[in-house]
């Protein structure tokens, strides 16, 4: 039976807020090969194209045949623990807060014997599952937990350092009018979020979902107009230091052509809420979230940007929308760089066309807002930095990575 961690006690206002510290962040270029897999929640290691040997830690040449032809490829994540070491004292300021730490020698089924951080209930001889995670420095590390037993590692403070679990956290959804907002609030609360604050723009306009959101309990509807600096500033004054997970869900999707005179206005309106809205949020919420990255168990943990796959490639017929998504992706990269060292994870969630009224002319497959919501929560719980939701998005990722011109031409045919 899973015993859920109790809600942390309220903060002692007489104590200094712990400043964020980082684990050692130096990695070789070869080691960065694991970062993408860790960011996307995959288990992949360097695999020799010549002899198929899997190696870890990352090297520039295969330790078996010395070939330099190594790729990072998905591998089975099972293994057997050979021995476990408990570290009681560390010289690293970051780890001094976290000792004791347990590290194990693990014989992976895919070949290499590795040293990895393990859950406290791991012991020599037991079977484990390894996962690639991003640590507080944003660098890839391996964590292992027992193959059988509790699938939830939340009881381990070392695991909690690697993820942005909504459990007991206070979340802010910035655009409550996005159809994702209601299922997202539900999913966050189901994951144990302490509170979900939902921003609603122009509350003088009727909003049918308001009653449904309020009926969830632990949901607070607040005025938030992402296009209005004063509105964002006012909300940050109240909730800035109480936002642990910020979910930027701005949606302003209008069809349009670059040849249309109306496009300029549409692009501005869309940029106001998506990209400029993100900048306003960063200005008013960013600094305090960054400073609260190590604020005990309900620290600031994550900033989620809900993006379209068309951030990568303009969608014919949706020029302004695609541009806002591209700008928002650039924002997200800038934010991640600025948040480095704070412990606040910046998560990009890419979706294909969603099942919303603006896109009713599109045939399936379209991704359901509830699926997006559930995958956002799963990505937070897994500590990911990038999640592609739905078959369309996953197909896009593969084809765009392989040959962007192929998928560009294919979009012309649709």
């Amino acid at each position: 039976m899973i015993v859920q961690r109790q809600r942390p006690p309220r903060k002692n206002p007489l104590q200094r807020t712990a400043a964020p510290l980082q684990p050692p962040a130096r990695r070789s270029r070869a080691a960065q090969g694991l970062t993408r897999a860790a960011a996307q929640g995959q288990f992949a290691l360097h695999t020799c194209q010549a002899c198929q040997a899997v190696s870890y830690p990352p090297r520039d040449a295969c330790p078996k045949c010395l070939s330099e032809n190594l790729i990072v490829a998905p591998v089975p994540n099972g293994g057997t623990i050979l021995s476990v070491t408990t570290i009681q004292i560390s010289g690293e300021p970051y780890f001094r807060r976290l000792v004791p730490a347990r590290q194990a020698l693990i014989a992976l089924d895919c070949g290499p014997t590795i040293v990895a951080e393990v859950r406290p209930d791991c012991a020599a001889g037991i079977r484990v599952r390894a996962s690639l995670q991003l640590d507080k420095a944003g660098q890839p590390v391996i964590y292992a937990r027992p193959e059988h037993g509790d699938a939830n590692s939340d009881s381990d403070p070392h695991w909690r350092e690697l993820v942005a679990d909504p459990l007991h956290r206070r979340c802010l959804i910035t655009d409550g009018r996005n159809p994702v907002a209601l299922p997202l609030a539900k999913a966050l609360l189901a994951a144990g979020a302490a509170k979900v604050v939902v921003g609603i723009s122009e509350r003088w306009k009727p909003f049918a979902e308001a009653a449904k959101l309020e009926a969830l309990g632990s949901v607070e509807l607040v005025d938030l107009d992402l296009a209005d600096d004063q509105s964002v500033s006012a909300l940050a004054s109240d909730y800035g230091a109480k936002t642990d997970i910020l979910l930027h869900t701005a949606l302003h999707l209008r069809p349009g052509s670059v040849f249309s005179g109306a496009e300029l206005l549409k692009a501005r309106d869309a940029m106001e809420v998506s990209y400029f809205g993100a900048l306003r949020l960063a200005h008013h919420f960013g600094p305090v979230m960054r400073s609260r990255g190590a604020d005990r168990d309900n620290s600031a943990a994550a900033w989620v940007n809900l993006l379209s796959i068309f951030a990568h490639l303009s969608w014919p017929g949706f020029a302004a929308y695609s541009a806002t998504q591209a700008a928002s992706l650039s924002f997200s990269q800038a934010l991640r760089a600025e948040m480095r060292g704070s412990g606040v994870r910046v998560l990009d969630v890419f979706t294909g066309p969603m099942e919303i009224d603006w896109l009713e002319h599109l045939p399936p497959p379209k991704v359901q807002p509830s699926a997006v919501a559930n995958e956002i929560v799963a990505a937070l719980k897994g500590g990911e930095e990038e999640r592609w939701v739905g078959d369309v998005a996953k197909d896009f990722r593969e084809r765009f990575t392989a040959n962007p011109k192929e998928i560009e031409r294919d979009l012309w045919q649709q």
């Binding site: 122009e202 509350r203 306009k205 296009a227 600096d229 209008r254 109306a262």
Partner: protein
């Protein structure tokens, strides 16, 4: 009369203002973000609401000074509609705010109180019959006057002010025949309201649709909307000063509307 007593109209007015015999009443809503604006279906072009973005506020962007960039649609907050705003007024001379004769920017007002009716019926339509009863009490509406419909709607805020539901806005306004009559039979300067438009919230379902816009602007007349404090004005006798920004070919403009009221 002594040598020192003023005799010129302006000197008399100056003295009256100084003595408080003539008061200045502000009929303007504060231009601020978050205020309701006209709503169009989202696939159509949208008017910008009020935005105020700080340039600097005694900070690292400007240590000793505070200023903002502001943006808004021409039809935001307390604003004036010029004839060019509506298709019926598109070919008229001097139909935009920059060419509006300045002599029309100071004009008398007739204030028709329909606040009681509006309080019980959000879709209340003011009729010719209603205004004729007002005339029976206060005299005929003089040509060149503003006709201001007092509904006390400006006391409402936010959602109650916009009063939107699934069938659109529900706010009081003039009916179609009244608009034709005010323009053709009374030659008014224009019509002013406390609501978001000169037309009723459901005015799009009248014949012709949006009769206030249709008749006023087709005849080179003006609209004032989102006015406030009409309850502070007498039925007759107030002098309205309403000078829009001189926007080139502007279809309208937010403006400060003030009334001179004699005590």
């Amino acid at each position: 009369m002594t040598m020192n007593e003023p005799t010129s109209p302006i000197a008399l007015m100056t003295a009256a203002l100084a003595s408080g015999k003539v008061r200045v009443v502000d009929l303007t809503q504060t231009l601020e973000p978050g205020g309701p604006t006209i709503v169009m279906p989202p696939e159509l072009g949208q008017s910008w609401p009020v935005r105020i973005e700080p340039i600097s506020r005694y900070d690292d962007s400007g240590p000793a000074w505070y200023w903002n960039n502001i943006s808004f649609g021409e039809h935001t907050g307390t604003h004036l509609d010029a004839p060019i705003h509506w298709i019926t007024g598109r070919y008229l001379p001097h139909n935009s705010v920059d060419t509006m004769p300045t002599s029309l920017m100071v004009a008398p007002a007739c204030v028709i109180d329909c606040s009681a009716e509006s309080a019980t019926d959000a879709d209340f339509l003011v009729t010719v019959d209603f205004v004729e009863k007002w005339e029976a009490q206060h005299g005929r509406i003089p040509p060149g006057s503003w006709v201001l419909l007092r509904t006390d709607w400006s006391l409402k805020r936010g959602a109650a002010y916009a009063n939107l539901d699934d069938t659109g806005a529900h706010t009081p306004g003039p009916d179609a025949e009244l608009m034709r009559w005010l323009v053709e039979e009374r030659d008014v300067l224009g019509v002013g309201t406390e609501t978001i438009g000169t037309d009723a919230g459901q005015g799009g379902h009248l014949d012709p649709p949006y009769p206030a816009h249709h008749y006023l602007h087709g005849a080179g007349k003006y609209g004032l909307q989102c006015l406030a404090k009409l309850d502070a004005l007498p039925a007759k006798g107030a002098l309205i000063i309403a000078a829009p920004l001189k926007i080139r070919e502007g279809s309208g403009s937010p403006l400060r509307v003030i009334a001179l009221v004699e005590d």
